[in-house]
Amino acid sequence: MSDPRTPGMSSVPQAAPVHTDSTSPAVEMDPVEYTLRKRLPRKLPKRRNDVYVNMKTDFRAQLARCQKLLEGGAHREICVHGLGLAINRAINIALQLQASSQGVLQLAANTSTVELVDDLEPEDPDEAGEHLTRTRNNSAIHIKVFYPDPQ
């Protein structure tokens, strides 16, 4: 699967967690031949205290959302997830939360690898081209932000 990818004409999945292509535009496939369509990353059921960070929503809004969850009293801990480009932002949010709590909150970060699926649709006029699917990996981070137990 050393096939290079299409530049442009790609669709970035919108839903949280946002990921961006780790391997960047340095590609040299003929854009006429294939169209790249990225499928959504695999989703798992979400608890109320899971926060998936994306790059579309305003940073402050996402931070405020996390603060609300923590200060609402319902949750002792929240999980901030970020995929790809959003890893940075997830870390930022977690650190901001910690800073604003005067050190009461603690962090525990985990990283993981997420498998993403791309579809390559043939664009050739005689329509004999094979439909390709390939996978690539992207990094993700899961940060647990929690109040430590009193003892």
């Binding site: 442009g8 839903a15 959504l40 329509e127």
Partner: protein
């Protein structure tokens, strides 16, 4: 005397509104005509015919007073100050005679009743009561007698008028089952009911559209919750009104015929390898045979039946909107050379269900044999006595047996499977969870059932080893798919065939919300991954739904509700699953994944879902269990919103180049115009003042013609400049070029640009960005937008429109038929200075037609008035009526009677240059987008004008356009996106 009167009358008319005049005319109907004279005559001393008389000392003062009193109602502004020479003297005898005459006429007038001869008229308003007309005793005594008399008279007159009506049956009789069925059958003769009609009719606003009764939107408020369902859970729609056309034949011949209908530049066609294998559903825009890129018909989706050993022929289903079905069928018959109608074997349905067909409507292609056949059926129905038992299914629908055509030359068979297959659409990420919870893969029949021969299809299937193997595999895939959380994670267009148990057996007692059950299981995970990558294997896409015989067998042997209820009654633990499954309780189905939003960068896979295909008759059996899984139900309204959020054109709204789209636009225009006219004139929007030429219908043809003209003129001008000709020459040249265009190049019909490569190019030139104005990360090596590239592009795509999405930059909610305009340099400066600038204003226009409309309105009034006083003033009338208003007559001559205040009369002036900003196109769908969080509009713009605009715009503002609603003068900045 006559003069005075005339003057007075005219004056009255100047001051009174039309309604008042009418009222007055009615009142005066029975009055002696010269009563008028009383007031005018008193002061100036008799009639004008009396000749000179003595000087009246206080002429002036009295003139004023008489203006106040008298018959003229309402405020008199100038006191009617007409200067008229008063007679110098009056003769006593003549004067007295005249007065005597007047007194007598007055007396006569007093004794006669005026206009309304109702008794209540005699009562002051505050004493009138509605009930008086029923009960005369509520009237004061003095009026009672008269009222009684009148009442008797009206009662005598009444029954004569009333038509003899057939006596209506009692409600109980009407609701009796058989009668109810007859009534239902009568009501769906004209517009076909879907199987879920009664369910929908109880909850939806129904509309009669395209020959069907369809639910438009629910009676309850659910706009937002439906949107939430689409983006979070599941929304269900009944799409059974979509028509299915089946083609059977050899693959090469089918493909050869079908290739005439499509253009390869628009994307994958019928021959796309993946679709051809039957593993994916495809979609394509169909054109008239060999006419690509002009004359499109509309979009269709298609599904190939997977290849199998026992079948040499391929089978293809084409799903089309009912508005294009007829055209498509004709086109298909032409390209396949199939025009021999085949009468389907009619024997079986008549024998299996002798009471099935109710009012057989002979199809236009049916021949004599079929007619006799239907007659026989009717007879036997009459003989059997009770009317049909089945409401749903094919019982009450117009039982047009699928008309089939085959061809002698290439053995292709076309059959029309309209209403043969039920199609439900589930939209939303949890669609599959809902499906998985509703349906269970069919249980295999036990040994006893297998051993004995059966007329049902499933026990027969159970005998075959290979069929059972297939069933096992399909069930396995179905179970794996349950582990996938969201519908968007699957390859788009995936097909899965399956056989399921009757979902009514597992109907929960209460509505529950279906939730996904994603459990991490190692070995499942591997398989799931494989499935995601490879898609459903070709073998599993096979379904028995493709078989006509199985379909009819399943439809005919459906367990009735009554039988099910009896079974429920016998179950030991109430509410538990009914087991064992009755042998007829298995249904073959097809599941087809619907891709969500595929174009553009944002909201990818929004609105993805599954389509559920069922054999006819099983509609309600699946509908209710689905509803019990907590889905929302949407109507036509929601499918429009769905495609709007997907950024996809919706058929037939957004296909202005298709015949169905044109028809739709005409209907929409008539509807909007009627709505506009229903408002009182003073409360209507004056679209002329808003500078909106076409608020109800977009004249695409005129727009693109004008754009073409402007570009050619521009080129001519440039050439003229190069040749350094004088201005006059240029003008001359322009005129000649105009003439040339008009003569030599007959401008073709407008088309929508669907060529993918060109769209991609255009999209790059628009600098595709996200709606929030973020820069797209990757724009490949596109040829820069320069003059040569532009000319090449434009010569390839003349007279074309392009589908665009416009996201409003800050405020504003675009509406239907909002104008897409080009910002001027100052506007862009405004935007540069302040990013959140709300946008420029359009200076209000003048309505030149208003005065003429007013004058025209007065015209009939004048006519009425002249006829009214014609008996008195025959001599003067000619003078009076022939003081013509030149403009009025001009307007009357120039435009026919259809001038409506606030709308441009028909030959529209130049569309592009009507406003201060050049118009590029119009919006066909616009709303506040709940998924994007800002106003979003979808519409078409002229390619020619768009390219020119883009070319002239500076790089940092490329793709910024203006949007203006027809009812507003405010322009809003919007970003253009062309998504491929």
């Amino acid at each position: 005397m006559c003069e005075t009167r005339l003057f007075l009358v005219r004056e009255i008319h100047m001051k009174m509104s039309a309604a008042k005049v009418k009222m007055r005319g009615k009142k005066m109907r029975n009055q002696p005509s010269s009563v008028q004279y009383v007031e005018s005559g008193t002061q100036n001393g008799g009639g004008g015919d009396e000749g000179p008389s003595s000087i009246h000392p206080s002429t002036k003062r009295q003139t004023n007073t008489h203006q106040r009193g008298g018959w003229v109602r309402g405020h008199q502004k100038d006191g009617g100050g007409y200067s008229r020479e008063m007679p110098n003297y009056i003769t006593a005898g003549a004067f007295a005679r005249a007065r005597a005459e007047e007194v007598s006429t007055m007396l006569k007038a007093v004794t006669k009743t005026t206009g309304s001869c109702h008794v209540f008229g005699a009562l002051p308003k505050h004493m009138r009561r509605r009930a008086m007309s029923h009960n005369t005793k509520r009237l004061p005594c003095r009026l009672r007698e008269v009222a009684n008399r009148m009442r008797e008279r009206s009662l005598q007159a009444g029954p004569k008028k009333k038509k003899e009506q057939a006596k209506r049956k009692s409600r109980k009789a009407r609701r009796r089952h058989g009668n109810l069925l007859l009534e239902f059958n009568r009501r769906q003769r004209k517009n076909i009911w879907l199987e879920t009609h009664i369910w929908h009719a109880k909850r939806f606003h129904m509309v009669k559209k395209w020959g069907y009764c369809l639910g438009n939107k629910p009676t309850y408020k659910c706009y937002r919750s439906c949107h939430r369902a689409m983006s979070g859970h599941c929304l269900l729609q009944d799409l059974s009104y979509y028509c299915c056309i089946e083609l059977r034949g050899e693959e090469e011949k089918l493909l050869a015929s079908l290739s005439q209908l499509t253009g390869k530049e628009t994307g994958p066609t019928f021959a796309a390898a993946l679709c051809l294998s039957g593993r994916r559903q495809g979609s394509v825009v169909v054109y008239r045979a060999g006419q690509y890129p002009t004359q499109p018909l509309g979009p269709v989706t298609f599904l190939w039946r997977p290849r199998s050993q026992e079948l040499t022929n391929r089978q293809l289903w084409i799903w089309a909107h009912p508005t294009i079905k007829q055209d498509l069928l004709l086109e298909l018959q032409m390209v396949c050379q199939c025009c021999d109608p085949v009468v389907p074997p009619v024997v079986t349905p008549a024998e299996v269900f002798p009471t099935l067909q109710l009012e057989p409507k002979p199809e236009k292609t049916s021949d004599a044999k079929q007619i006799t056949e239907t007659k026989r059926k009717r007879k036997c129905k009459d003989a059997s006595g009770p009317p049909a038992k089945k409401i749903l299914g094919d019982g009450t629908r117009s039982p047009s047996t699928p008309v089939t055509w085959n061809s002698s030359s290439n053995r292709i068979v076309i059959s029309d499977l309209t209403m043969e297959i039920v199609r439900y659409r589930l939209i939303g990420p949890q669609s599959f969870s809902v499906l998985a919870e509703t349906m269970e893969a069919a249980t295999v029949c036990n040994e006893i059932n297998i051993s004995k021969p059966s007329h049902l299809w499933w026990p027969e299937q159970c005998k075959s080893e290979s069929k059972m193997n297939l069933h096992q595999q399909q069930t396995h895939v179905f179970h794996i798919l349950k582990g996938i959380f969201s519908t968007g994670e699957l390859p788009s267009g995936t097909v899965l065939g399956l056989t399921v148990d009757d979902p009514r057996l597992t109907l929960p007692t209460k509505k529950v919300k279906a939730l996904p059950c994603v459990r991490p299981a190692q070995e499942m995970d591997e398989k799931r991954r494989e499935l995601m990558l490879q898609g459903v294997p070709e073998l599993c896409c096979q379904s028995d739904l493709w078989e006509q015989s199985v379909r009819s067998n399943v439809a005919d042997n459906k367990t009735s509700e009554q039988e099910l209820n009896r079974m429920r009654n016998e179950v030991l633990v109430p509410g538990s699953r009914l087991s064992p499954t009755p042998p007829q309780g298995r249904v073959p189905i097809l599941l087809v994944q619907q891709p969500g939003k595929q174009v553009g960068n944002e909201m990818s896979s929004w609105g993805a879902g599954w389509d559920l295909l069922l054999p006819k008759g099983w509609g309600m059996a699946f509908w209710v269990p689905l509803v019990y899984r907590g889905v929302r139900i949407g109507g036509l309204n929601m499918s429009l919103k769905h495609s709007q959020n997907k950024g996809a054109p919706h058929f037939p709204h957004d296909y202005p180049d298709c015949p169905a789209g044109v028809r739709f636009q005409e209907e929409q225009e008539a509807e909007l115009l009627a709505k506009f006219k229903r408002r009182p004139p003073a409360k209507r929007t004056n679209y002329i003042k808003h500078g909106c030429l076409a608020p109800f219908c977009c004249p695409w043809q005129q727009l693109s013609e004008e754009c073409e003209l402007i570009t050619t003129e521009g080129e001519e001008e440039r050439r003229g400049e190069c040749q350094s000709t004088t201005e006059a020459d240029t003008v001359m040249e322009e005129m000649t070029s105009y003439g040339e265009i008009a003569e030599t190049k007959p401008l073709s019909r407008v088309v929508v640009l669907r060529n993918r490569k060109s769209l991609r190019l255009l999209s790059g030139w628009c600098r595709a960005t996200t709606s929030k104005g973020q820069k797209s990360c990757r724009v490949g090596e596109l040829p820069p937008l320069d003059r040569s590239a532009m000319t090449v592009f434009l010569t390839a795509h003349r007279m074309s429109l392009v589908w665009v999405r416009l996201s409003v930059l800050c405020k504003g909610k675009p509406e239907l038929h909002a104008m897409v305009c080009v910002p001027t340099a100052e506007d862009l400066n405004l935007l540069k200075k302040k990013c959140g600038s709300s946008g420029p204003q359009e200076p209000p226009h003048r309505d030149h037609f208003k005065s003429s409309v007013r004058r025209r309105k007065k015209e009939p009034k004048k006519a009425a008035q002249s006829s009214w006083c014609s008996d008195n003033i025959q001599g003067k009338e000619s003078v009076f009526s022939t003081e013509p208003n030149p403009t009025t007559s001009v307007v009357l001559n120039s435009s026919s009677s259809d001038i409506i205040l606030g709308l441009w009369p028909d030959p529209l002036p130049s569309i592009t240059s009507n406003c201060s900003r050049v118009t590029l196109g119009w919006v066909t769908q616009g709303d506040f987008s709940l998924s994007a969080g800002c106003g979003e509009a979808l519409g078409f713009v002229s390619v020619t004008a768009l390219l020119k605009t883009l070319f002239n715009q500076p790089m940092e503002h490329r793709g910024v356009l203006l949007l203006r609603n027809p009812t507003s003068l405010h322009y809003r900045f919007a970003k253009i996106n062309i998504e491929v």
